[in-house]
Amino acid sequence: MVIRSSSSTRIDQSPREMFQRSNSSSSSPPKVGGSLLKPWKKSSESLSDSKKHSTKGSSSTHHMSPLRNESHNGSKTHLHHNHITHHPTKDKYFKDLDEDWSAVIDDYNMPIPMISNGGVETTLRPPAVIHDESAFESQRSSMESYRGTGSNLNRTISNDLKLKYQIEVEKDVQELNSLMVRIDRFKNLTRPKDGTTQVNLTEIRKLAWNGIPMVHRPVVWKLLIGYLPSNLKRQDQVLKRKRLEFKQGVDHIFSDNHEKDVTTWHQIEIDIPRTNPHIPLYQFQSVHDSLKRILYFWAIRHPTSGYVQGINDLVTPFFQVFLSEYLSPSTKDDVYTLDPLTYLTAEQLSDVEADCFWCLSKLLEQITDYFIHGQPGILKQVKNLSQLVKRIDSDLFSHFDSEHVEFLQFSVRWMNCLLMREFHMSMVIRMWDTYLSETSLETSIGSEDLMSEGSTSLDRKSRSSASGPPSSDSRQTTLSEFHVFVCAAFLVKWSDELMKMDFQGIITFLQNPPTKSWKESDIEMLLSEAYVWQSLYKDATSHWR
C-alpha cells in the first residue's frame, strides 16, 4: 500500500492530536524508567533535560517502559519473564461459551505492555482517509474552529526544521504501517474469516491492552466488557434484544405508570449540565436528554447503589466512543463537537444509549461497592493505595505522614471517577482500552439482573473454576485492583515535586495535577509502570480480593 503521506502538509499532526495540544504549547516528553525501582526519580531528571530538545512529534518510540527494556535486554528479574511467555493453551476455554453474557474474560495471557505503537492512532489518522484530502481539510477546519484560532505551526516552519520534519514524516509512515497492521489484526479477530463463530477474546484482550484503533474501539469495548457475545452468530440478535429491552424500560420509567424518584431525578438533572463542561458535545440538549435517560434508568434498576455523583462521568467515555461508530473514519474526531442528532436518527441514538446503559452496568458491576451506602469500596481502595505507596515509595509516604496528608484527602476522586477527572477525555479513552482489558472474570458471572437466559449461574461458576486455579505464571487481576496500581504509579510520578511541598502544596497539587499536556505515550507509560508495580507487589495484594 502506498502512503502519500508527504502530500499532505500536516500529515504528522492529526486533528485529534491538535485537539490534545490545545491546552499547552509544550509537549511533555515521556518519562524513562532506567530501573525498575523508582524509575520516576531518574525520569524527572531526564525530563528537564529532554525538554530542551523535544520538538513536536518526536514521539516516544525510542523510549521504553521498564518492561520493554527487560524484554530486550534480557530479564533482570525473573518476575516479568513469566509474563513474557505466551500461553496458547487456555484458548479452548472459550470454545463452548455461547450465551449472551458468555464473554467470560480470562486473566491469563496478559500482554506485555509496550509503549511503541500502542497509541499510534493519536499521531496518525486511519489510513483510509489519507487519500481523502477534502475530508481531512473539513475535519481540520472544524477542529480549528473548535479550538478558536488555528495553529499555523507547520506553515511557518523554518528551513532548519524541514529536514527534521522530513525524518519525522518518515517515522510517521512507519508508524502508519504499523497501525495498519494493528487495524488488520483487530479486524481479523473481531470478524474472523476462517469460518469460526467464536471470537478469540484472549487474543483481543491481549492486543487491546496496548490500545485499540479508533475504528475498532466500539466493538472491541463491547466485547471486552462482556456486553457483546463472543459468539458471532448471536451478536446481532443480542444487540437487538438488549436495545429493545432498554427502550421499553425507558419508555416505562418516563411514562405515567412510573412514580418518579424525585431526589434521584433532581440530582441527575443538576449534574448533567456540569458533566464534561469543557467538551462541546456535552452542551447539546440531545446529549443531556440521552445521559439523563441512561443514568436515571440505571439508578432505578440498581436501587442499592442508586445514582451517585461521578457515575455521570463514568458513562461518558462509552457514550462518545459508541457515537463515533456512526461517524466515518475521517470524521471520528468530530464526535467532540457535533450534535449527535446531526448524524444519527432518533432510533440510532436510542441504540447508542442502550449500549451505554448495558456497558455502564457491566463496568459498575465491577465496582458496585464504590457507590453503595458508606462507599466501602472507595475507602478500601484508598487504604490499599496508601499501603501500596508505603511499600513502593516509603520516603513519600513518610513525608505525607509528617505533613499530615491523608490519602483520603486526595484520592477519593481518583477512585470514584477512575482518574477521569485527572486526564483529558481522549487520554481517558485510551486508558479504558487497558482497563476494559482488565475486566474481571466475575463480571460476566452472577450478574442476575443482566442475565435473562442461558445457563444457570452454577453452570457458569463451575465452568469458570474449570479454567483452573491461578498458576504461578498467570495474571489474575481485576479492574479495581489494577486501578490502585495506576493510582500509585500516578502518585509516585510526582514524588520529587511532592517531597518539597508542605501540606497545602501537596493537596493543591494533587487536586490539579499537571496532566494537560499528556499524550497517549504518557498514559501508556503510566499503565506500564502500574503493570510493573502490580507484578512486583503481587503478594501484597492477594488479600485485597
Binding site: V262, H266, Q267, E269, I270, D271, P273, R274, T275, P277, H278, G306, V308, Q309, G310, N312, D313, F371, H373, G374, Q375, I378, L379, E403, H404, L408, Q409, V412, R413, N416, C417, R421, F503, Q504, I507, T508, Q511
Partner: protein, 211 residues
Amino acid sequence: MQGEDYGYDYDFLFKIGKSNLLSRFTANEFNLDSKTTIGVEFATRTIEVEGKKIKAQIWDTAGQERYRAITTAYYRAAVGALIVYDITKSSSYENCNHWLAELKQNADENVAVGLIGNKSDLDHKRAVPTDEARNYAQENQLLFTETSALNADNVDEAFRALITAIYQMISKNQLDLNDTSGNNANAPKGPTISLTPAPNEKHKKSSNNCC
C-alpha cells in the same frame, strides 16, 4: 412533596454552589462550568484578623448524601464550619437542620458555625425570608449572612466573620489553658490547628452545603 413542580431553574442551579462560594473567597473566581465535587476539595486563603495573619484551610465537601461517610471524617478536625443553603429553595433551607445535627454529632463541641443563605442576587425568586433564617441562626448560636457567589456580595464578610470567631474562641481557649496547666493535651487534634496565637497561625474548617 414536590408533586408536579419540577420547576428547577437550570440557569442557576449548577452555576452557583458552595464550590463557587469557596473559589470566590479564596481566588475571587467564579466558574460557570465547574464540575460536581467528589468527596472533598481543598482551598486556602490567608487573611488578617486583629493584626494577626491567619491562614484558613477550607474543605469544600460534596453535597450528595452518599458522600457523608467520607465527608464527616473532615468534621472532626474542623474548628469552624459554614452551612450553605440556597435562598430560592426552601427544601435546601430545611435541610440545614439536618446538617447542623450532623456537625454537632461529628465535630468538636466548640466548632464555630456560620449559616449562609447563598444566591442573594436572586432576590426575586426568594423562598426563604431573611428574618426567618436570621432567627434560626440566633436560636442555634450561628453566625448568619446572605451572600452571592455570583456577584461576590458578602462572601468575604461571611468567611471573615467566621474566621474571626474562630480566632477569638481559640485565643480564649489558649488563655484558659494557660490558666490551668499550660498543657495543650485537650486541644483539638488536627494538622493545621494551633492554639498559639502567633503570626501565620492556621485554622481549618469545613464548608458544608445542604443541597
